[in-house]
Symmetry: C2
Subunit: 366 residues, 2 copies
């Protein structure tokens, strides 16, 4: 697919623009800009993101785009957002009828997710373009105690991830349902029903706000966090490691993955590099460094908040996926990581047990 799934996306603030600045990257955070203001210790924290539709449901696409923008604030432990702008392009290939049906749904989804995030959309820009674009800008003015700079990991910390991996594989596999040649490559390892369920799970997961996790970062004293998007788990883990003040390295032992996506990735020739941590995610979970004694409590609280809210409004899950040790500010995945198959919330097993998307965290790492 030449569409969204992260391709060509430089969605870290530091990438395209930060690199052109010589000297210290003042004001450039990992996922957001943090700009000191002229007014009494306050900072402006903001982020922008836009991309192309990757799910068929316009309403859900709007929700995902909004969750994806807000996620950069959440990665800094910020739970509030003062304002959102929406960035949109209408496809020139759509007729008037389709446009009037689709665009309001995208906007509504975006607005609803913003409202769930306790904020609202007050402006934006719309253009005509060959492709549909959906994105936004999130801004907040903060006191210093409201955000957590992503640079405080220490050896002994534990790595926690708050959404399962595999959204890109799920979205692609769903498209292959109608492409015989592609489908033939994976049909031995997965049923059509399983692909549909995984696609639903990916869609709901991408639309889930990382806001609960952001709030719990304060309660459980997270030392650093980022969100997992276009560069995949390992890419973002490397970026986060490179940012640390201490000489640390991240070692990843466990990979929570939407059920069957690892098998699909393998069956189709490993083009996604999913278990290598390189498959792009959209609106992925937070990857955070937590003090060892806090990690299990964090996961358990995420689990209880998730089952309380239920459905789309769920908080996501939480899995302990690795450790922080002394090292050269890089991240790696061990040779044979444990794959945690995360069942879609639509399955019978999931229906019987609301908590199954957030299995009890394993504190026993490999």
């Amino acid at each position: 697919t030449d569409r969204a799934d992260g391709t060509g996306k430089a969605d870290d603030q530091a990438s395209e623009f930060g690199q052109q600045l010589p000297g210290p990257r003042l004001g450039v955070g990992m996922d957001c800009c943090v700009i000191p203001l002229r007014h009494g210790g306050l900072s402006l924290v903001q982020t922008t993101d836009f991309f192309y539709p990757l799910v068929e449901d316009p309403y859900m696409m709007g929700r995902i785009a909004c969750a994806n923008v807000l996620s950069d604030l959440y990665a800094m432990g910020i739970t509030e957002c003062d304002n959102m702008l929406m960035l949109l392009s209408v496809s020139q290939k759509m007729n008037d009828k389709d446009r009037e049906r689709v665009m309001p749904l995208i906007i509504q989804g975006f607005r609803d997710a913003a409202e769930e995030g306790g904020t609202s959309v007050t402006g934006g820009q719309t253009v005509i373009n060959p492709w549909i674009i959906v994105g936004g800008v999130a801004s907040v003015v903060c006191q210093p105690n409201e955000f957590i700079m992503p640079d405080g990991a220490v050896p002994g910390d534990v790595l926690v991830l708050t959404k399962p991996l595999g959204t890109q594989v799920a979205v692609n596999a769903h498209q292959w349902l109608d492409q015989t040649e592609r489908w033939n490559k994976i049909k031995l390892v997965v049923t059509k029903e399983e692909v549909k369920e995984a696609y639903q799970e990916a869609m709901f997961s991408m639309a889930t706000l990382n806001r609960t996790a952001a709030g719990l970062m304060h309660k459980f004293q997270a030392h650093a966090a980022t969100d997992v998007t276009g560069f995949g788990l390992l890419g973002h883990a490397n970026n986060l490691a490179a940012q640390q003040r201490n000489e640390v390295a991240f070692v990843i032992h466990n990979l929570p993955i939407i059920a069957k996506m690892a098998a699909i990735s393998k069956a189709c020739g490993n083009i996604f590099n999913l278990v290598q941590g390189k498959s792009a995610e959209t609106s992925g979970g937070l990857l955070m460094c937590l003090p060892r004694e806090q990690a299990a409590k964090f996961c358990s609280e995420m689990k209880s908040q998730s089952s309380g809210a239920g459905g789309q409004g769920a908080a996501g899950g939480a899995w302990i996926i690795g450790i922080v040790e002394k090292g050269d500010r890089r991240a790696r995945i061990i040779d044979k990581p444990r794959i945690i198959e995360v069942p879609p919330r639509g399955t019978q097993a999931a229906n019987q047990d609301n908590n199954s998307t957030s299995p009890a965290p394993s504190a026993n790492l490999s």
Copy 2:
């Protein structure tokens, strides 16, 4: 052209998004969002804009895009900007060589204009797209006295415009130099040299920041302002009139237009509706309502600051173009408006007299 010149652009914050909000449009200004913050009387003011290239010079295109984004802040009398984000798409049709040559120039132009505006670009997002997109987000946290809400016009005010009209005509005419059929329609009224000069003038004018004008809005007690972009002079005048607290109407008598552009517009069958005030502008001037006794002083100060700075850094010009009278919150252009032919700064006449882009304001309206 199916490119920039304003087509399909809903560049007022209030249009696409504001209209979907029932009830009062809290937080939505004319050109910016104004969001009250949780912190001691401060407001977050922000705006976004993006579009497609409309000049051939990538560096100037970057400058124009930045000037165009900042202009929405300037229209509220705000002269500072705390942060800018840049929004970019790289065309999938460009080869690597072109991409590496062109994109850094666009970014550099954008950055340089931001620096001229006393701010800097600390983040952004880049995607791949069929077309190149350039745009940005400008944000500032303000005290109440730093911005002027665009709703205070009173009968007796004078309308002032700070850049000449005709950028869309100039950009199109310049493309027609290579299109025999189009060129034949206008060659009786204009020379190739004049078109090239007008194009240069349009390019420099679009790249000029409205920052000086924004600062002078405070000094000369402007009652309301907006910037002239995709809806043309009359469109934005109507929007501004509709926003007023008092029952006023705007009557426009004079149209400062880049030299020869009115003639071209007429010769090609009036497709632009330039003298009807409907031709789209990009990064146009500020249209403001000033107390009658202040307007001439404002124009004279704009003129002196413009000749002082010179070249690209010029402040723009200033022309008295109409009056505010009692009325039904609409704007109109009189039947036979006076066309003020604004000579390009590249012409000999302009070289002899640095001030010729800002002729002495006419206080004698029709």
